[in-house]
Symmetry: C2
Subunit: 323 residues, 2 copies
């Protein structure tokens, strides 16, 4: 079982309107509601790949109930710890004639120490049965070292943990020694205080090495850079796919987790992750992808071996902009 | 008990943002969620006046469950018939720096004949115990003559019905002979095919007489015009209050219903309805008002007796614009 932790899931509501009146009354011609949040997207993609998935998280209020209900029948096993706060919503307004999308993200709920303690009990039970743990997304009203704690518990149980978050949660979580960290370029830049140019792969590799032992950096449409203790690889999609960046990152994490569980070597693992990311970027909603797209992308990913190890941190100066 | 029918309630979600980015990501600094829909507002106002209120309607899905939960503890007795469709949401974005409000109204749910039949059973039981029935708001996926049917059933039970709706539901409902009809000027104009000038009270009275026997027309900040078989009255607030027009209309309906149940004469009934409307217009959310505001407005309403009866329909020509 792959355990995916989603502490701050969301109910994603999308309204499509012909042309929005931002000072008047609109009647959306399409309303779409789904369970969302990065961990939910990762779990969905893993399930579509045929993996056994357990989603562990916090859910509360009417939105929490609706979230759980909308994941019923998805094939994902749910272990949601109830909280008295209300699971957040995201509201997306798609203005079709202007080709604009506005997103309104509600803040996450408060979580009491008792509720978090309840989650920890479920988590430890779930970790004991897991082949890998994926920790995805932001923390709601929780201490920034929560992921660090979850990673330490996974390490103690001998279960590899994959971390995909940002800010202080990323910095503190990385220090706890997860098996893999998956920042994007902006998150890596913020966590290391280095301004990074996606074209300067050496610089990016240095920053990755600084963040942790095994780091896979998503470079957006340019693919993935994997820096491991032994070797580094750059995996590029056959064609540049633009689209849903959040969905692409979450799909890549799913590919990396599935590859790890299935014992794929790094080139095969990266190939799978890049192809999933490219297929997900083209899909209308995060957590979805066309299997045919995926197969096509899989044959086209180019994986380049960058050699024995990344350059040493000392070799490159920090950018002046971030010092 | 006052029975309020709300066939198309809504979960009202409001996001306040500093300055909206309609092509980007926004983080609302205030999120407010409440049960809404015209009938819910009327029921809330009646409850605040101390009346015993039963709210009968349709509710389904996660939003329906949340709606019911948010009315728990309101003191309103709920008789919600479950439907398989999902209760609609309204989404309001308040752009504080621009002083603009955008409203996104989801369409109402589909209602099956079996579900409506289930509602009718509850309705007939509730009517038997009611002193008055208020029928408020739009019909979701239901036949436009549904209010006409509900009015006929109330008439058969000897319970007066007050109708507040628009379009075909108003025209067909008016023909079924409710005890009172409460259109606003636009609804009256649409239902009678007459273009109406709020300053030309005689014209408005003619149209009202055409719509039904006892009609109270809300003139917005100008107050209420009541046309009854015996006499007509014009009730004006002491000062012009602008603000929440929907809330004001719903509060006026509550005042009319409470006045009818309490046996107030027409001038007292109108005084109460106008004062409630003025107090509600100034309140931040529909269905709310400050009791102090209400008391102040109550002393200031001016009720003018317009005489024995409204002018005959034949006396005034139809406007050329609507022929």
């Amino acid at each position: 079982v792959i355990l995916v932790v989603c502490l701050n899931p969301a109910l994603d509501i999308t309204h499509n309107v012909e042309q929005a009146d931002w000072a008047g009354v609109n009647r959306p011609h399409r309303v779409h509601v789904r369970a969302g949040g990065k961990g939910v997207n990762v779990a969905r993609t893993l399930r579509a790949l045929g993996a056994e998935v357990r989603l562990a998280g916090l859910a509360g209020g009417g939105t929490g109930a609706e979230l759980a209900q909308r994941l019923n029948g998805s094939g994902i096993t749910l272990t949601l710890t109830p909280i008295s706060g209300e699971t957040r919503r995201t509201f997306t307004v798609v203005d079709e004639s202007r080709g604009q999308t506005a997103l309104f993200n509600e803040p996450g709920p408060a979580v009491s120490p008792g509720e978090y303690a309840g989650f920890l009990v479920s988590y430890q039970k779930a970790v004991a049965e897991a082949a890998v743990v994926v920790l995805s997304g932001s923390l709601p009203g929780l201490s920034a070292d929560s992921y660090a704690e979850l990673i330490s518990l996974a390490n103690s149980a001998g279960v590899p943990a994959i971390l995909d978050t940002s800010g202080a949660a990323l910095r503190l979580g990385a220090a706890a020694g997860p098996a893999m960290i998956k920042p994007n370029l902006a998150e890596l830049s913020e966590a290391t205080g280095r301004s990074l140019d996606p074209m300067a792969i050496d610089q990016v590799a240095v920053a990755a090495r600084e963040l942790g032992e095994t780091v896979v950096v998503s470079l957006g449409p340019a693919g993935l850079l994997a820096v491991t203790p032994d070797r580094s690889w750059l995996a590029r999609p056959g064609e540049v796919v633009r689209g849903n960046a959040t969905g692409a990152g979450d799909a890549a994490v799913a590919g990396l987790a599935a590859g790890l569980v299935n014992g794929l070597d790094w080139p095969a693992r990266l190939r799978q992750a890049v192809a999933l990311g490219a297929a997900a970027a083209a899909a209308p909603a995060a957590g979805e992808f066309s299997p045919l797209d995926y197969q096509v992308h899989l044959t086209r990913v180019a994986v380049e071996d960058l050699g024995g190890s990344a350059p040493d941190v000392a070799e490159l100066p920090r950018s002046s902009g971030s010092l």
